[in-house]
Symmetry: C2
Subunit: 227 residues, 2 copies
């Protein structure tokens, strides 16, 4: 029986901050960014709550895991808190990312990501097919897998987005790990294994869609009675 006690390969002892907290941090970050852009100087946890949908208490608790950043009776200095969050998440310097698999999904993710995101930067795409080799997608070059270690070293690449067919995805994961990447964001519908110290997030979109369907079908009874 496989135990999930300490997910092997995932977070051996990372200061024990709940994952749910970590997932909310970039939402706070984006919100603060917008506030700073609109020249807002001070923001309360209640205002952040309105903009993010999380409760004010939760926001204060989340921040409390990392230090004390506010001023009692006043709130938080938006820009200062934004900068703290950048440091906490590890996005203070723009983070280099690679995309493995330059097919339809890989290409789309690359475009999506490059445009929508001020903190991460796709520095290269990799593929094995000669058809796409050397092509440029929005300034990003498609390179052969053999050049991956060099690129990872040169740009200090932190994360790899895997958008390759299921058959190849474990090999692709092994390759990016060997090249020195620490985080894997996998879109293939197969769960990828990685050694301890490498963090894997499997985004299995088919599975997610299927689980959503559950929430559609509950009302079937009503519906067929004719709403």
């Amino acid at each position: 029986m496989s135990k999930n006690k300490k997910l092997p390969g995932n977070d051996p002892d990372h200061k024990r901050i709940p994952r749910s907290v970590i997932r909310r941090l970039p939402v706070y970050l984006r919100t603060l960014d917008n506030l700073v852009k609109n020249d807002v100087e001070v923001v309360t946890s209640m205002e952040l709550s309105e903009r993010t949908g999380f409760t004010a208490e939760q926001i204060r608790k989340d921040l409390g895991h990392f230090g004390t950043f506010g001023t009692r009776g006043t709130g938080y200095h938006a820009e200062a808190l934004r900068n703290e969050l950048l440091k906490i998440i590890g996005l203070y310097e723009k983070t280099a990312v690679i995309v493995v698999g330059a097919g339809h999904l890989g290409t789309a993710l690359l475009r999506y990501n490059v445009n929508r995101n001020p903190y991460t930067n796709v520095v290269a795409a990799f593929d094995t097919s000669p058809d796409v080799m050397g092509q440029r997608i929005l300034d990003v070059e498609v390179l052969p897998v053999s050049r991956m270690p060099e690129v990872v070293r040169k740009h200090n690449v932190k994360a790899a987005i895997l958008a390759v067919p299921s058959e190849n995805v474990q090999a692709a994961a092994d390759q990016v790990v060997k090249s020195g990447v620490e985080v894997i964001f996998n879109f293939a519908p197969i769960w990828v294994q990685a050694p301890p110290g490498v963090f894997v997030h499997n985004a299995d979109l088919s599975i997610e869609l299927q689980s959503l369907i559950y929430y559609a079908t509950r009302e079937e009874a009503f519906r067929s009675k004719g709403v």
Copy 2:
């Protein structure tokens, strides 16, 4: 302050099965499908545990929310359990889905989904741009938004995948809701609102990637000491 007590628009009173349980069901489903394909007749919770990575107790508890499907001392009949899961999730009849936005991401999701998934079926894509109108992507036609209500009714569409630019995504959500869709799977980096009874899942890939970066940067200290 926005309270998340009973997320408005999300699950007004859905039998209170934990979301974490619902997310695991499609994983069990896929595993059982593979077993059935390999002519396995009986499977124990321990074997399912090995194949899914969840603990055997958790699998038994999860199933226990919906009834009793096993035989003590023996295990579960793989095909029977597969069929029960199909009914529970609501996938017993192939579920019709639409894709809104036939750009790069929409197209990629459409291809990804159509191929990889025996339970859901993309019946149409919608877009506003004349450039893509009438095109076919893997047998799926790109239609004008005006035809959405008709298509949703005809195919009994349950879910909509939104892959439109942020500026248009709330309008797109309003449109699919008006057309009768009950579940929204949104890929735009903006959280979409929907009326009660409509279930929204926001898959904000930039935010997810950013939160993963957190797990890369923790070891920075080691790394710069030269591993």
